[in-house]
């Protein structure tokens, strides 16, 4: 018997497995309401009813689980010193990366900060390319030359991966500028944190974006801490979605993947017609700011575990899948096992892949080298003419 459109009221009857529909590819539209309403500034909020499908929600689960496992694996690799330098993890914020992708296309551009591993994955990046980059291998998405903070995937319009707090904001408005200049019907999502939200260059870029009607969507990933500084200690007004003043804004439950999808879809339509809009995503990171930060000196362990229990984005989708009978507990556990294996395999493959050749030191400085010379530490020992 075909299932008709499901509503919020969960269907709890058990179906014999022989009659269960194979749901992993069921794209029949269903509507789910977001857990919380949207709060808006200078605009009408989108509807809480989100169009989705069983297949989509299942894909959300898988994609978020993959991101979660990737970040946890990165944590271990960092502790075993296979990843060096900075490593900023995104676990807890997966709904943002996944929900955004569901609301947009790969022709829309994304640019973000240094907390970019999951954004890269969301744009279609491969696990093995991510781990290879983290471990400084040639196979890495930046040939090992970038590191954790500098993942890029230009063919999917992902423009990095930026280490300077706030710099990505004018850059992202520049991407939007180019889209408008080239008359593309695409938009740019410019991600930044609550810490970066106070940067002057944000207001400079937003002013120009509003003046020139650029299709830029500024997305504040408000995880409530700029490194170790809570929002109440850094922002006189922590209502980040309102800080655009004349620019409309929307506050979104960033732990609800469907709300994120809805907001991004709404923002895209808005930006194409009316110019910039700010999305404030209320989210949370379980790890500290980076692997050098235990994340417990400025917040209590209770707070972290509290969020994990009540708001975890993956658990919420699990509950949704179970309550709507889209998948069984076993199916979801199996999926998580598959994802774990995917990640483990990718880590193993990345560990085996070679480091860049020494000659790579001098590549990619310029597109057009025009006989430029470059030198090693001892210029009489190592001197290269870039061809």
């Amino acid at each position: 018997m075909a299932l008709s459109r499901l509503s919020l009221r969960s269907t709890t009857f058990l179906k014999p497995s022989s009659l269960r529909r194979h749901v992993t590819t069921d794209t029949t539209p269903i509507t789910i309401e977001t857990a919380a309403p949207f709060t808006s500034h200078q605009c009408d909020p989108p509807s809480r009813s989100v169009e989705t499908s069983s297949a989509e929600i299942l894909s959300f689960f898988r994609d978020m689980a993959r991101m979660r496992r990737m970040e946890i694996a990165a944590d271990s690799l960092y502790k075993s010193k296979l990843i060096r330098g900075f490593c900023h993890l995104y676990d807890g914020q997966e709904a943002l990366a996944v929900g955004m992708e569901a609301g947009i296309t790969k022709k829309d551009a994304i640019i973000t900060s240094y907390r970019d591993h999951c954004t890269f994955l969301g744009r279609g990046g491969e696990l093995v390319d991510a781990f290879s980059e983290l471990m400084g291998r040639m196979r890495g998405c930046s040939n090992g030359k970038g590191g954790s903070m500098h993942f890029y995937k230009k063919d999917a319009c992902f423009y990095g991966g930026h280490g300077i707090v706030g710099a990505q904001i004018p850059l992202g408005c520049g991407l939007a500028f180019a889209q408008k200049y080239s008359k593309e019907e695409n938009v740019s999502f410019v991600l930044y944190g609550d810490g970066a939200a106070n940067q002057g260059q944000l207001f400079e870029a937003l002013n120009i974006a509003a003046l020139w009607d650029l299709p830029a969507i500024l997305v504040c990933e408000n995880n409530h801490y700029g490194m170790g500084t809570a929002t109440w200690r850094s922002a006189k007004s922590p209502a980040y979605f309102k800080r655009g003043d004349y620019v409309p804004g929307l506050k979104v439950d960033g732990m609800d993947v469907l709300a994120v999808k809805q907001a991004c879809k709404f923002a895209k339509e808005h930006a194409l017609k009316n110019g910039p809009i700010i999305l404030e995503m209320d989210t949370y990171r379980y790890h500290g700011h980076s692997m050098s930060d235990p994340g417990s000196t400025y917040r209590t362990r209770d707070e972290v575990s509290g969020v994990r229990q009540v708001r975890d984005p993956i658990e919420r989708v699990r509950k949704l899948l179970l309550s709507h009978d889209i998948a069984t507990e076993k199916e979801l556990k199996d999926m998580e096992k598959e994802v774990r294996k995917e990640v483990d395999d990718a880590v193993a493959q990345a560990k085996e892949s070679p480091v860049p050749e020494a000659s790579e030191l001098f590549t990619n400085m310029y597109v057009k080298d025009c006989g430029v010379e470059s030198f090693g530490a001892d210029r009489k020992e190592l001197k290269v003419t870039l061809a």
């Binding site: 030359k145 710099a167 520049g174 500028f177 180019a178 120009i208």
Partner: protein, 366 residues
């Protein structure tokens, strides 16, 4: 609507009514045919931008007052009228913001020409020039190249004081991933700016306010719309055999005057116009020093860690056994630029400083 009456739009080619000031004191070894064309540096830059905008729809101009005001120094005169507001953008006074936007547009494949009213203001945007533009191709292993030009007047003008007079050649030229150019003549201005706009990498283009109004002879070849000069190649402005004088921008004129004075005293100076600060044409510089055995290197900017220091180091490293005298540096004084005219004169290299250093290198006393 433009508020400026009686200005004729410059659409390529020289302005017949431009001031025909000869380059002060220059009597070049070459003679120019009667009726040969002259062009101001301003018109040269304007025509270069115009031609590149005409040839490539991805090229656009952005900066403070570049459009309606016709350019603070009139370099972009007529461009808004010719190409419209979708190719020429007046920005608010927010360097960090608009420079970042320009770099982002370049990430996406457009070709911005970003004007800084002077390079002193580029310091407000320097993070984008260096961290967002210069390093991107490397950090992304070639995925994200940045075909942007940052241009504007650099170095001292006249009486504008400490905050408006700094030379940024050494700062930008120290950064791998950038190309840094400094034109002197109208031909330099045209050829180098066209090359810069066509170049797929970020280029810092250092002009000089006091050169904008100077006229230079210009060849037919240089007036052609396909004319480009190679990036990374210096030009020997005057050949000589006794001492090599290297410099760039406005100081090239001073060095040529100094060469005249030295010639009267029997010293034959070779004057090299660097044109390109990064890449630095070490080959041409060293070949010249190996010929003359003496080096005087000149710049307007601060002396410590300057362009001259790099050239001296290069020559000492590569041509030590050819040197017959210690290398000489003539640079701006090691002080913030003062306002009073007499002090300003003391703060900048003068022709007599270059002459004196050359004579020192030749072991001639005053």
């Amino acid at each position: 609507m433009w508020g400026i009456l009686g200005r004729r739009a410059v659409d390529g080619g020289f302005s017949a009514s431009s001031l025909r000031r000869m380059r002060s004191g220059l009597v070049s070894a070459r003679s120019y045919a009667a009726g040969s064309k002259e062009m101001t540096v301003r018109d040269a830059l304007n025509s270069a931008i115009d031609e590149e905008m005409s040839a490539d729809p991805k090229v656009f101009v952005m900066g403070e007052e570049v459009g309606q005001y016709q350019g603070a120094y009139k370099i972009s005169k007529g461009l808004l009228e010719k190409y419209g507001p979708e190719r020429v953008y007046d920005t608010p006074i927010t360097e960090a913001g608009f420079t970042g936007i320009g770099v982002g547009a370049a990430y996406a494949g457009l070709k911005p020409v970003v004007e800084f009213m002077t390079f002193n203001f580029s310091m407000q945007a320097i993070d984008h020039i260096i961290n967002s533009a210069a390093k991107s191709n490397y950090m992304s292993a070639g995925q994200i190249n940045v075909p942007i030009v940052f241009r504007g007047p650099n170095g001292a003008a006249a009486g504008v004081g400490a905050q408006h007079s700094q030379c940024y050649a050494a700062w930008y030229a120290s950064v791998p991933g950038l190309k840094v150019l400094a034109p002197y003549s109208a031909e330099d201005a045209r050829g180098l700016l066209k090359a810069a706009i066509r170049d797929p990498d970020p280029v810092v283009f250092l002009e000089n306010e006091l050169l904008y109004g100077e006229s230079f002879p210009i060849s037919e070849e240089a007036l052609d719309s396909s004319f480009c000069l190679p990036i990374g190649k210096a030009k020997i402005e005057r050949e000589g055999k006794d001492v090599t004088i290297t410099t760039f921008s406005k100081m090239v004129g001073f060095a040529l005057k100094a060469a005249e004075k030295l010639a009267e005293e029997g010293i034959s100076a070779e004057v090299i116009n660097l044109r390109s600060i990064r890449p630095l044409d070490r080959a041409t510089i060293n070949a010249s020093v190996r010929k003359t055995s003496r080096l005087v290197t000149v710049e307007e900017g601060f002396p410590q860690h300057g362009v001259c220091a790099e050239i001296c180091a290069s020559v000492v490293e590569e041509s030590f056994s050819y040197l017959d005298a210690p290398v000489e540096r003539i640079a701006g004084a090691d002080v913030p630029m003062p306002y009073a005219a007499n002090l300003e004169r003391l703060a900048l290299p003068q022709v007599e400083d270059i002459v004196r250093a050359a004579k020192r290198a030749c072991f001639r006393s005053k």
